[in-house]
Symmetry: C2
Amino acid sequence: MKKWKLSNKKEVLKAKIFKYFTVDVESEVTHKKGTFDIIASFDWVNILALNKAGQFILVKQYRAGTDSITYEFAAGGMEIGEEPLVSAKRELLEETGHTSSNWSHMLSVDVNPAFMVNKCHFFLAQDATKTTDQSLDHLEEIEIIYKSKDEVLNMLDSGEISHSLVALGLNHYFRHN
Amino acid sequence: MKKWKLSNKKEVLKAKIFKYFTVDVESEVTHKKGTFDIIASFDWVNILALNKAGQFILVKQYRAGTDSITYEFAAGGMEIGEEPLVSAKRELLEETGHTSSNWSHMLSVDVNPAFMVNKCHFFLAQDATKTTDQSLDHLEEIEIIYKSKDEVLNMLDSGEISHSLVALGLNHYFRHN
């Protein structure tokens, strides 16, 4: 098996949070050929934060994709030139006003290799404390929610926590802890 | 916290595997307002299949999003009017030629509530056997790979398995098994 040959990559559209490209592809093995969709975004970070009481710090917010109110972790897109850990610290601070001096990298994944370019980097922030107010973007409205590990596990298994990336972070965490 | 008010939903573009919409949003609490991106696809299915020897049945293929060759599970988009289990049986058969009489639903998640409409449904197919040849789409070139549970766990923890949804399915599986 070999990587396919790409050619004629075209930026079709620049949306608010991604660019959409098409690219012509051809297998050098079977000579199948066609055109694929590509969505390019900056990498994302997702922060599993625990306070000193061992509670997870969740963010509750309205999400337009599913037209629903979700429970997630502080998360967001990296900015140009940022290292993932810097982005993670910034997003946790902006969305929850919490800081931590106990950070560790959990895992990084490709969001969807079939048609998405970007990665998601997961960090664990332990012993987090609220040191300031939220500093929200003009389209963010976020409630901070504290839940015990048992409560979060129940929310995961009941489907109340439904975001695939949050579910990945939690399943990874609970597999190891 | 309340759901935001949506208006003026517009289909901007129909790509090969998704439609892209914009929608105007307004919070009825803080009266923040703006426009969000929405990507709509059919729901996806992802099949963790094990053969009678207890090996996972992986698919190895080129993926244009990351321009790389990946290890994943048989997976794909649901067709109109299909139930998720029907889609899962169809995708496992088409991509690997395997069937199973021992299916169970593992979990369903929202792929990305922030801007994606669709869900991903995970199924476990045990005691799968190869009953026919692959039946691949005109843009699929897929190698079938058998790996023991220990090998797959190593591939997950080393990052060789990097697709976020495959990693979610596996972390969920290994948390419970």
